[in-house]
């Protein structure tokens, strides 16, 4: 009951404040395109300042600029998985260059797949090209948020590289 009462109070206050809230109005455009242009023609590059002070009420667009919590799902995951399997197989067979070529095929389908960087970095470590390997690990790590296993392997590889493995 207490909670419901608080909620009621909140809703009441909210409805009172709603009348004062600013509504987002798109900024006006200083120039119009020539009248003979198709309707899809955009405004000039630099627009006039907004009618309101610089602090406009937050727009719907602005709300959308938020970090993504995971990478956009990529169509063709099974293809990427199959290519990564093949890249690991070639890596185990010490065919590092071919393994990297296969990993690059996976990268073309999904460059945000962290395992691509893991397999390539592993190959470069095996070829004792540690600088290249480190760069690949660094590139893979920020992408591995949703894949703790891959992230752990990348971190472990980075430790090995830095210790001069």
């Amino acid at each position: 009951m207490v909670i419901n009462g608080r909620l009621f109070l909140a809703i009441l206050l909210c409805s009172l404040l709603a009348g004062c809230a600013q509504v987002y109005v798109p900024v006006s455009e200083s120039k119009s395109p020539p009248s003979n242009l198709p309707s899809t023609f955009p405004p000039p590059e630099t627009q006039a300042p907004p009618a309101s002070p610089p602090v406009a009420t937050e727009s719907e667009s602005a709300k959308r600029i938020e970090p993504t919590t995971s990478n956009t799902p990529v169509k063709g995951n099974s293809a990427v998985a199959s290519l990564l399997d093949e890249a690991w197989r070639l890596s185990r067979a010490r065919e590092y260059d071919r393994s990297n070529a296969v990993a690059e095929r996976a990268m073309r389908i999904d460059h945000a797949e962290p395992e691509v960087y893991l397999v390539m970095a592993t190959n470069y470590v095996a070829m004792t090209q540690l600088q290249l390997a480190e760069q690949l690990v660094r590139q893979g790590l920020p992408l591995a948020g949703q894949k703790p296993g891959v992230k752990a392997e990348l971190q472990s590889l980075l430790t090995r590289i830095r210790s001069g493995y």
Binding site: R6, A10, L13, C14, L17, A18, C20, A21, Q22, S30, P33, P34, N36, P38, T40, F41, P42, P43, P44, E45, T46, Q47, A48, P49, P54, V55, E58, S59, S61, A62, I65, E66, P67, T69, T72, V74, K75, G76, N77, S78, A79, A81, S82, L83, D97, R98, S99, N100, A101, R105, M107, R108, I109, H111, A112, M120, L132, Q139, L143, G145
Partner: protein, 774 residues
């Protein structure tokens, strides 16, 4: 007298004997010289034939199309690809190079291919479609295939000065009717004679006498080969003798099979623009767009018939004549028992079946701008002579599907802008580059508004001032200093003037000639305010901006002048693409690549161009820049892009306009493609276009035609989001008036709270929570 006579006789005898001696000496000398000449000739014949026979041009290939479930590829697109690869539509695919089509499915029999990373087998597969994407990929038994690859498309070549082009084939590759048919028509006693056929000469003489003109030649295949391979086309007696001698020598040293194979690769069979088509391998692609193994009987017969005169029997210019010749060849083949009379009759019923002439391989290569890029990259590592003669096979990442979309949009949008803005027809030019984000591979390029134009390549050579396209480098240099600048930092956008050492005064002004006072940094970039950018750059120091541009990947000279802050530096579209790719790749620099790998003419892997990257920027600063570049497209100078692109697609980019609107730029990226567009006039004249009204429109067209994914915008470690009040940069709350959710590098966030009031239900609840500690 008698004595005199007696005296004279011995002198005559002496003279006579001296003459005989000289005769024998000269004869001997002549024999020795002739023998030496024969030995030299023999050595020439042997060496040229046993060594490298031809200067082989290098051929440039596109990427191989990967097929997999979920791929964005429509049925028509696959059919277009198959058509360009020379696949033949049939009712049921049974052989490599064939495909059949039903309403939502394509069944195809791929050709095998040797790639750097392994072999792709020839196999029958079924591709099911749903709209414009691949619903499923299965093998011939219906089992799912994770993925499959088609062979790459040949998109161009690098030729020697004599412009001979050929594709070498081996005898075992040929359809049986080809070699046998050639012998039946050109040299029936090929396997019996030793280079010369006296019977053939006699038969030709009789025929010529009967006709009263030179109707038949008596040359064997070996003689014809000698004429084409070693000698010129003169028809003199001495040359005929030489030809006969060399033919015999050739037969002594080499087997019939070697001679026949060389003939099949040497013979002239037509012209593709300024390039001569030699050999049956290339001719089969040129006329029928199929490999020699895939030729059908009537096609074999046409090519065999053309040996007699490729121009005279040209099937495009003289189809009737070519058809008659082909049918005569089929009759001869049947008479000689190479084929059955029934097979000959059936083949004679068929049409010539050659490609439309403009599709004949390489009348003119279709993608000169991209080939230009490939050649320039190759010349950094290979001698020109090797490129022209060693028959290298160069595999690139060029995507013909993206290229054709790019070309269509460049042409139509420039026409549309000319009409809409009343620009003199033909004056507006453009260039565009499309790069795959992450791998840094250039997948398509337009160097002119007209597709296929092989002149000035603006994508590589039009170095134009880049205007505001430079600003992300300025703002990045600032955001790398979180103790000084954040996205919420207020930048003064009031007029400024800078006095140079030489006394000149630089007074940058905004495009609209208006000033905006203090504006948040993200908004200054989003709205492309010049005064704010110039002031920010000057606060930072020109050297910091120069350093940022160099780390982004610019390798040219950068004038250390204040005007650099507003893009007073000339770059080509591909150079701008390099800078923006480093931004798109989250601060990792990857040299843009056009070439994937190089193979020798014998298919031996020679060189690969692997993916490499180098971290050059802090991912936290890059995240902040990505935010501001999204503002450009959501709210700023690039927002019209979302009129034609889905709202859900996360994109980032920047417009660019130079003084007097001489150059219109847009560079921007999604999660998988980066595109850079330049529009302007070749004479550097004024245009009515800004970056937003010109290049952005074409950029939007291009991006709307591609299968884009949202850019990766993951929050990196060390970055936190806060609600702030942009007017003063103070901390705010969700729902507070004007509050904006901005990313900050940890430690740089504002500390002071503004006195905001929430204006949404959530905000009110938060406010109450804060007030009463709920």
């Amino acid at each position: 007298m008698a004595r005199k006579t007696r005296k004279k006789k011995p002198r005559t005898r002496r003279r006579s004997s001296q003459g005989r001696r000289w005769f024998w000496r000269l004869l001997l000398l002549g024999l020795v010289v002739s023998l030496l000449a024969l030995l030299v000739l023999d050595a020439v014949v042997y060496q040229k034939f046993s060594g490298k026979k031809w200067s082989l041009p290098s051929h440039v290939c596109s990427r191989a199309l990967e097929l997999y479930q979920g791929q964005s590829l429509g049925r028509e697109q696959l059919q277009w690809e198959l058509g360009n690869l020379g696949y033949h539509r049939v009712s049921a695919a049974k052989n490599p190079g064939e495909y059949s089509v039903s309403s939502n499915r394509v069944e195809l029999y791929s050709r095998g291919f040797e790639f750097w990373d392994g072999s792709e087998p020839a196999r029958l597969m079924r591709v099911a479609f749903q709209g414009d994407s691949v619903l499923g990929l299965t093998d011939s038994r219906g089992a799912p295939l994770p993925l499959a690859r088609l062979e790459p498309m040949v998109i161009g070549g690098i030729y020697p000065a004599h412009k001979e082009d050929r594709e070498l084939v081996k005898l075992e590759q040929l359809p049986p009717s080809l070699a046998d048919g050639l012998i039946a028509v050109e040299d029936q006693r090929f396997y019996q004679h030793h280079g010369l056929s006296f019977r053939g000469v006699a038969r030709a003489m009789v025929a010529n006498l009967k006709e009263g003109r030179l109707a038949q030649g008596g040359s064997t295949l070996t003689q014809q080969l000698v004429k084409n391979f070693y000698l010129n086309q003169q028809r003199t007696l001495s040359r005929k003798l030489l030809e006969a001698l060399m033919a015999v020598m050739l037969e002594i040293h080499f087997s019939k099979q070697e001679i026949l194979e060389t003939y099949i690769n040497e013979v002239y069979l037509g012209q593709a623009g300024d390039r001569a088509v030699h050999g049956f391998g290339l001719a089969s692609r040129h006329y029928f767009q199929r490999s020699v193994e895939e030729l059908e009987l009537q096609q074999v017969a046409l090519l065999v018939g053309m040996v007699k005169g490729a121009s005279y029997y040209n099937p495009w210019r003289q189809p009737e004549r070519a058809l008659q010749r082909r049918n005569l060849v089929l009759t001869l083949m049947a008479e000689q028992g190479v084929i059955t009379p029934d097979a000959a009759r059936r083949a004679q019923q068929k049409p010539l079946g050659v490609l439309p002439q403009q599709q004949g391989r390489g009348g003119r290569w279709q993608y000169p701008a991209f080939l230009d890029l490939v050649k320039r990259r190759l010349r950094e590592q290979y001698d020109e002579e090797d490129l022209q003669t060693e028959g290298l096979r160069i595999f690139t990442r060029f995507d013909p599907q993206v290229q054709r979309k790019l070309e269509a949009r460049v042409a139509s949008r420039i026409d549309n802008l000319e009409q809409g803005y009343r620009i003199e027809t033909g004056k507006l030019q453009g260039a565009a580059v499309v790069v795959r984000v992450g791998s840094g591979e250039v997948v398509a390029m337009a160097g002119d508004r007209q597709a296929g134009y092989a002149g000035f390549n603006r994508a590589l050579d039009a170095r134009r001032q880049i205007g505001s396209t430079v600003k992300p480098a300025v703002y990045l240099a600032a955001l790398e200093r979180p103790s000084q600048y954040t996205l919420a930092s207020l930048i003064d956008d009031s007029p400024l003037s800078v006095k140079a050492k030489d006394g000149d005064v630089w007074e940058p002004r905004n495009f609209g000639r208006e000033s905006h006072g203090p504006v948040p940094l993200y908004e200054a970039l989003g709205q492309s305010y010049n005064q704010a950018a110039a002031r920010l750059g000057l606060e930072l120091g020109v050297d910091k901006v120069v350093d940022a541009l160099q780390r982004l990947g610019y390798e040219g000279h950068l004038p250390p002048l204040p005007s650099l802050m507003l893009g007073a530096v000339s770059m080509s579209p591909v150079e701008v693409a390099q800078l923006y790719h480093t931004i798109a790749a989250n601060g990792f620099y990857t040299p843009l690549r056009a070439i994937d790998s190089v193979f020798t003419s014998t298919n031996t892997p020679l060189q690969r161009y692997p993916f490499e990257s180098e971290q050059r920027f802090d991912p936290r600063a890059m995240h902040l820049l990505h935010y501001a570049m999204q503002v450009v497209l959501r709210e700023g100078t690039g927002k019209s892009a979302y009129r034609r692109l889905p709202e859900s697609l996360v994109l980032a980019g920047k417009t660019g306009t130079t003084n007097d609107q001489r150059d219109s730029w847009f560079a921007g990226f999604s999660g998988n493609y980066l595109s850079v567009v330049w529009l302007g006039r070749d004479d550097n004249g004024k245009t009515p276009l800004t970056g937003g009204t010109g290049a952005l429109q074409l950029w939007t067209d291009i991006m709307a035609s591609l299968d884009n994914r949202s850019m990766v915008f993951n929050q990196p470690d060390g970055v936190s989001y806060y609600w702030v009040e942009p007017a003063n940069g103070l901390l705010s709350r969700e729902g507070c008036a004007g509050a904006r959710y901005l990313p900050f590098i940890d430690g740089s966030e504002p500390r002071q709270q503004s006195g905001c009031r929430p204006d949404t239900l959530e905000g009110v609840i938060d406010w109450f929570k804060g007030k009463f500690g709920w």
